[in-house]
Amino acid sequence: MKRVYVNEKWCLGCHLCEYNCAFANSGKKDMVDALKGKPIFPRIHIEGNEKISYAVSCRHCEDPMCVKSCIAGAISREDGVIHIDQSKCVGCYTCILVCPYGALATNADGVMQKCELCLQNSCGAPACVVGCPNNAIVYEERGDENG
């Protein structure tokens, strides 16, 4: 299955992925309208310092702790993709408690969200990947072993 991966060596730490993600999931047609002057709630985030940076988003784990722990049964794994049914989420934060990658956070309304590979929005392919200026973020299939 294709997942989003980041190459630390190429990541500039520019945070564009965060903006592209927030825009792609905003449901709006215009980026300025969607993001300007508002707090953004991207599903990917940059970590690191001036020298090293990289983007973190949902790993779509094979054995996902969030799915096993969700008290509402709102998180499921369908064809390898971990999906949140936001209408069922009660905002208990148990998924925040268990995700080893820190990949889940709330949206503006306090409902949990995470990367769903832009399969649920109109983007079609992960917006973070499409918009990465240095091709540091990729969307591809990798085996268990290679890094």
């Binding site: 009660v90 208990c92 925040i96 408690l97 820190g102 990798r142 890094g147």
Partner: protein, 417 residues
């Protein structure tokens, strides 16, 4: 391969984990679920969110409506397993039916514990807060003027309080403990949560409890008296261990299970709130009655029931609980300095972080208010990551994968996990 007959006693989250565990290996053998409750599985902790209006009955289903059917399960609703005949390998139901099994999973959960208090029988309107039916009957009884007395300031009592707070006149919560949420919070952290609850109109009587009921009046140990219309008893729960205990299986406060979720009796497994397993953060056995563990234990039991192999050897206490927008996330065990533990602390405006370390690993944490990415800390506890293999100084300040080495991070972010 001969077809197996799996029986699961109980229909909560542990049972669902068990079904999914079995089906991850054995797609065809029969699975029978014995459900005392008349409902398909729902998330038990949702009952307070239901009263609060954050979910609805049709959204509380833990799995899709066709779950049992698509997993080839037969569910016997409204039935109770009376006993297990381990010689004949039958489970005997209250209607006299004997169901043969090749392996059985006891996922019977727990029952609210009601202390014997003088005059309790004189209280007309009293409830537990454990099941959907409890929640629905409480909902029927309450109105905007109800004065509610909740006995027990633990997770159940306080979630109940939050759930009904906008729908009743007043809420008083009493507890013998010196603080709220005493099983997961220390004094100072508990005080923060208590303050938030009080700001929202909930009144506390701590270090105090009811010594006598007389109809709608409770006389307290302190001598005070409380008048109420509705009583909620949320003192605690007891693991339902009887089925295993009466067979001579090993039972302490819960049914003892090993890492494969086997009881001491052959072909009898147990999972969920009825069990007592190893808390690896503490290094001792404990009843860890929390939903994630119930699922994972159930899954492990299911896989092992088929003859497959899965271990659940990373059980720790962990809770995420919020009241009126203030969230607390906690995990693991908190060792004091007298036990060789150390604590790192950070305070902010309405936030508090406490990390507990011992013997070079993180053993526990409490986060109040600022809880983002807490799972990075939880993972350190579960995996017993040696703190000298990561940059703990960075991690203390902020849960981030940046604290890991580039190599470790490549494994986490660069491949399939």
């Amino acid at each position: 391969m001969r077809m197996a007959e799996y029986i699961i006693i109980g229909n909560g989250v542990a049972a669902i984990g068990c079904i999914e565990g079995i089906r991850s290996v054995d797609k065809t053998s029969s699975i029978t679920v014995i459900s005392e409750e008349q409902y398909p599985v729902y998330g038990r902790p949702l009952i307070s969110y239901y009263l609060e209006g954050k979910t609805t009955l049709d959204k509380m289903n833990y799995r899709k409506p066709d779950f049992y059917e698509s997993n080839g399960c037969r569910v016997l609703y409204g039935k109770r397993a009376e006993r297990i005949d381990k010689d004949e390998k039958n489970v005997l139901l209250d209607d006299g039916t004997a169901l043969p099994y090749t392996s059985v999973c006891v996922a019977t959960g727990s029952t609210p514990f009601t202390p014997s208090i003088k005059g309790l029988e004189t209280v007309q309107s009293k409830f537990s807060f454990m099941t959907l039916d409890d929640s629905l009957s409480l909902e029927k009884a309450l109105n905007k003027d109800s004065r509610v007395l909740i006995v027990g300031a633990g997770l159940i009592g306080l979630k109940c309080a939050e759930g009904i707070s906008k729908r009743v006149g007043s809420i008083t919560v009493c507890d013998l403990a010196t603080r709220v949420l005493s099983s997961i919070l220390d004094n100072e952290c508990a005080a923060l949560m208590q303050a938030r609850l009080e700001e929202n109109g909930i009144r506390f009587m701590l270090e105090d409890t009811v010594t006598e009921f007389n109809g709608n009046k409770a006389t307290m140990k302190s001598g005070a008296s409380v008048e109420f219309d509705i009583l909620v008893m949320a003192v605690g729960v007891r693991a339902n261990t009887a089925l295993v205990k009466e067979l001579g299986g090993e039972v302490n406060r819960g049914i003892l299970v090993n890492e494969q979720m086997q009881t001491s009796l052959s072909n009898i497994y147990a999972a969920g709130d009825c069990t007592e397993g190893m808390d690896t953060s503490l290094g001792e056995r404990r009843v860890l009655a929390i939903l994630p563990n119930a699922y994972m234990q159930g899954h492990t039991a299911g896989v092992n029931m088929t003859g497959g192999r899965e271990l659940f050897d990373k059980a720790i206490p962990m809770n995420s609980i919020g009241f009126f927008g203030l969230h607390a996330i906690t995990a693991g065990s908190y060792f004091g300095t007298d036990e060789g533990g150390e604590m790192y602390e950070e305070r902010g405006d309405g936030t508090l972080k406490r990390l507990f370390t011992k013997d070079g690993v993180l053993t526990g944490f409490i986060l109040i208010g600022q809880v983002e990415r807490a799972g990075i800390y939880t993972s350190l506890i579960r995996e017993k990551v040696p703190l000298d293999s990561i940059n703990f100084d960075i991690l203390k300040k902020n849960p981030t994968l940046f604290a890991y080495s580039q190599n470790q991070r490549r494994k986490m972010l660069g491949g399939v996990v």
